[in-house]
């Protein structure tokens, strides 16, 4: 159905009214009676022994209610890590304690040493400035290559700063493939560190009710139940029934709001201590120093080809920066979300990936939009275009030659692709980008003194990490299913409690479309409830483009149970056998007759069971389902970027950006397009603008919007996007996930285009972000060569 409000319709979002009218309710919009305010005193240095913390002056500051340091938190656990990676020697990763407030040592600029609680923010800020801490500075570990050599250590447990040394694939097979190669393409690249920068800074409010012994945490989280589990069980020792976690409207996440953060634990714990609610809201400069960062890989990779351009083997060696502590899912990102993607869309028979994950005195690094998959795609897709240039082949043609065309396909890096059609989106993208006409456009640009380039990237993504048994074997300390409850009210309206969390994705609309479609009722009859552990039975939350594929499927499964129960009730009312009753267009009908009961009538009967098989069926109509997927889903796509460089300034302009994605079936095309746009902006931002830069002392030099270049409206073009569809084979909706694709596929497309534009100048690679300065400098070095 593509009309009306059901699956496939681009209906307008139901949540927009409140956001457009200023009626959204974000954490910082909430106040509680008698609330206090918290400001953290954060380390100004990257690595130091904590000497005396002198609170004398601060405690006397007006309005101060309490000041906490690590000494107050001795009975409290550290921030836990949710994924245990086992290294290639079968050793568990090194897992140092991550205290709520720095104990003994600070390990990155921004590491909180002290929490000041006062009657107002202004008073808390003033008092925080009066806290005097003796930082006895130690050498900072910043550069990963130097970190390995030993000397300074972030944690005593890891003298050479290595957390784990992990591998995937068959090294001997890869070596053998390289021995047969006609061409070997090599690359050294950096996947630049990024700061996620959701526009709503993180915030948390903790409260404690002495009467009921209940704790409440309101927090900017993508997954409130996960926070309840981690914080309740591992940090504060609060059982689930005494801890309520709410994530109301959340202003963007992009991964950075998955993790359990120390501030959440501090306000929850502190609220009980002082007997009053505590609110903390990050200032943006604080977000830069305390939100988990993304990416930060240094990689050497080689790819072997035969004389026809068929890929024979791939070897990847990566140093992955984990920062100072292990953030919640950090170990999974450079390993199982990265190595497993190295086959991409290609039949490369032998692959070996080695990842050494390092501690450094920098902000912890964890999942950021794409999480490991952009890093893998960047390596592979840079190699493909570079190899094509070296072998004198067309970059699209080289890819096409190597496409996987038989599904299911077992890759040499553990995963099995269920379905896909890579030619379909390549063809569509080539046509939309007018790839054929490019050389003429290049020549025309050249005549104007400009350098045009075109870059192709063909990405694969793995969404909805699953099944739980597999991820458990890989080290996940949680299951990766989703839960949903469908509550049909007596008058036929429906409330759906979902464990997924919307922080911009539009679940209130998309999920309601699915429900309305399946039940054949009006969408206005459907309410989507999320973000409150007191209302939603359980949930694993929203990340990894999993909401529709996993959360949506849980809803469908619960709906199926509702429909089945309704059928039994209908069979009784219609005096027919269950097998003879079909459910269609919102009514149960006896096959081949016009005898029917609407869904609303059945709902009413379920709650007013006067004429009801009460000995066989319970009254009421409410069902819960937990859905554990059988496999990942594998969206894929082709992105083509065409750019023009002004050699006088080194400035790059994106002339056209084309995206053709296969997301399987689509519930709301308008929302899906929006997700792609946003992902593209972040990927293009990474490629051209964004960079988290640390100096040798571990100071974050790009710690505000003055220095960290966020993509703005005038940095980006409008996008040309389209989709193809091979439905996912193992979930009932046939959906795959679309949230991260844009950020995964676009960085290599942009850099491939830039390298293509600069090919006459002998520039074979340029690290991100490809700023005008970098390009201009490269041209100055190369100019004389090209001028000949």
């Amino acid at each position: 159905m593509t009309t009306g409000t059901g699956i496939g319709a681009s209906i307008k979002r139901r949540e927009d009214f409140r956001f457009l009218k200023g009626l959204g309710r974000y954490t910082d919009d909430m106040t509680m009676p008698n609330m206090t305010y918290c400001v953290f005193v954060r380390s100004p240095v990257a690595h130091a022994k904590l000497g005396k913390i002198d609170l004398t002056a601060a405690s006397k500051s007006p309005g101060v209610v309490a000041i906490f340091t690590a000494t107050d938190l001795e009975a409290v656990g550290g921030v836990p890590c949710g994924w245990l990676v086992t290294d290639r020697h079968n050793k568990p990763m090194i897992e140092p304690k991550h205290p709520i407030l720095a104990a003994g040592k600070v390990r990155h600029v921004g590491d909180p040493a002290c929490a000041v609680i006062a009657e107002t923010y202004a008073q808390a800020r003033d008092a925080a400035e009066k806290v005097s801490i003796d930082y006895q500075e130690l050498a900072a570990v910043v550069d990963m290559k130097k970190a390995m050599l030993g000397g300074a250590a972030v944690h005593d447990e890891a003298p050479n700063n290595l957390c784990f040394d992990w591998e995937l694939g068959d090294k001997a097979a890869a070596d053998a493939a390289f021995a047969k190669a006609a061409h070997i393409c090599k690359i050294d690249l950096i996947n630049n560190r990024l700061v996620p920068n959701a526009m709503e800074p993180r915030a948390a409010i903790g409260a404690y009710d002495l009467a009921t012994e209940e704790h409440t945490l309101v927090t900017t989280s993508q997954n409130p139940h996960v926070i309840r589990l981690l914080m309740g069980a591992f940090v504060l020792g609060i059982p689930e029934h005494k801890l309520r976690v709410l994530s109301p409207d959340v202003g963007g996440g992009f991964g950075s709001k998955i993790f359990h953060y120390a501030e959440e634990a501090l306000v929850t714990w502190g609220a009980k201590k002082i007997g009053r609610p505590i609110k903390w809201v990050a200032e943006r400069s604080e977000s830069f120093l305390s939100d988990a960062h993304g990416r930060d890989h240094v990689t050497h990779a080689e790819m072997a080809f035969d004389k026809d351009g068929m890929a024979l083997g791939l070897k990847v060696d990566t140093l992955a920066n984990l920062g100072a502590y292990l953030s919640t899912f950090a170990p999974s990102v450079p390993t199982w979300l990265h190595g497993t993607l190295m086959a991409g869309q290609y039949m490369t028979p032998a692959i070996h990936v080695n990842v050494k994950a390092m501690f450094t005195n920098t902000v912890p690094v964890d999942a950021y939009r794409g999480a490991g998959r952009p890093e893998a795609t960047y390596v592979l897709e840079r190699l493909m275009s570079k190899a094509a240039a070296e072998m004198g082949m067309d970059q699209a043609e080289l890819r096409r030659r190597n496409f996987i065309r038989k599904f299911p396909y077992q890759t040499p890096v553990a995963v099995v692709y269920d379905t896909g059609d890579y030619d379909a989106h390549l063809d569509k993208a080539l046509a939309l980008a007018d790839y054929k006409g490019f050389e003429a456009r290049r020549a025309a640009a050249k005549a104007r003194g400009k350098l045009r380039g075109i870059g192709v990237s063909a990405y694969i993504e793995a969404c909805g990490i699953a099944p739980s048994s597999l991820v458990g074997a890989l080290g996940a300390r949680a299951g990766l299913y989703e839960a949903a409850t469908v509550r049909v009210n007596p008058t036929g309206s429906v409330a759906v409690m979902t464990g997924s969390h919307s922080h911009g994705q539009g679940h209130d609309t998309t999920f309601a479309q699915v429900v309305a479609d399946k039940l054949g009722i009006g969408i206005e009859m459907v309410d989507i409830v999320h973000g409150d552990t007191a209302k939603v039975p359980f949930g694993m939350g929203t990340y990894g483009s999993r909401s529709l594929a996993v959360g949506g499927t849980a809803i469908v499964e619960a709906l199926n149970k509702v429909i089945d129960k309704g059928r039994r009730i209908a069979a009784h009312l219609l005096e027919a056998s269950e097998a003879d009753i079909v459910f269609e267009n919102g009514a149960y009908q006896v096959k081949g007759t016009d005898r029917k009961k609407t869904f609303g009538e059945i709902a009413l009967t379920a709650y007013v069971p006067h004429k009801y098989p009460i000995d066989k069926i319970e009254p009421g109509l409410e069902e819960t389902a937990f859905y554990d997927p059988k496999n990942f889903t594998f969206p894929s796509g082709t992105y083509i970027c065409e750019i023009e460089i002004d050699p006088a300034t080194g400035e790059t302009q994106i002339i056209k950006f084309t995206a053709a994605d296969d997301f399987g079936n689509i519930v709301n095309p308008m929302i899906v397009e929006g997700q792609v746009h946003g992902g593209l902006a972040q990927g293009i931002g990474q490629a051209l603008l964004e960079n988290a830069v640390y100096d040798d002392n571990g100071q974050l030099k790009s710690g505000s919007y003055m220095d960290y270049c966020m993509p703005r409206a005038d940095d980006l073009p409008s996008f040309d996007i389209t989709t193809t569809n091979t439905p996912c084979t193992h979930n009932p909706l046939g959906v795959k996930g679309c949230g991260e694709a844009g950020a995964i596929g676009s960085p290599p497309a942009v850099i491939n285009a830039i390298c293509d534009a600069l090919r006459d100048y002998g520039v074979m690679h340029m690290d991100m972000p490809a700023t005008p300065e970098k390009i201009w400098r490269a041209l100055q070095v190369a100019m004389p060569k090209a001028a000949e």
């Binding site: 307008k12 979002r13 949540e15 927009d16 009214f17 409140r18 956001f19 457009l20 009218k21 200023g22 009626l23 959204g24 309710r25 974000y26 910082d28 919009d29 202004a122 920068n197 959701a198 526009m199 709503e200 800074p201 409207d249 959340v250 202003g251 963007g252 992009f254 200032e283 943006r284 400069s285 922080h503 911009g504 994705q505 539009g506 308008m670 929302i671 397009e673 929006g674 746009h677 946003g678 992902g679 593209l680 902006a681 972040q682 505000s704 919007y705 003055m706 966020m710 993509p711 703005r712 409206a713 005038d714 980006l716 409008s718 996008f719 844009g742």
Partner: protein, 160 residues
Amino acid sequence: MPHVTMEVNGKAVKVDVAPSALLVEVLRRDLALTGTHVGCDTSQCGACVVHMNGASVKSCTVLAMQANGAKIVTIEGLSQGTNMHPVQAAFKEAHGLQCGFCTPGMVMSSADLLARNPNPSETEIRSWLKGNICRCTGYHNIVKAIQIAADTMSKKAAAE
């Protein structure tokens, strides 16, 4: 404590303020108008844009005292009840918002653009929006929304 007198969304208000208080703090905290957001501390993001005497300003960069005697319109005052201003309606129509956090500032800023330039080109729109960061939409649909709003508003103006 000093105080400021302003007209906010058509209502006269008088608020006691510290001399260092920012307009955005007074709006959010004292007047409970939480539609205006704070996304940065360097006057870069535009989540806090409101209208002051008819022009868009970043309310995080205006001292409350500076607003003494001013007419302020926030997102809550741009339209009444269930009505939407054409810019609000166009943002919904074109899916120009996702998480909604930048949205109030975007809408207020866009409304000011269209008041100054009823028929802006894509380049003019993108250049005007430089002071408003959105991390969700990639701006594509925000640009579209402003074009739609420009269209509706000029048609409406022509009809009047």
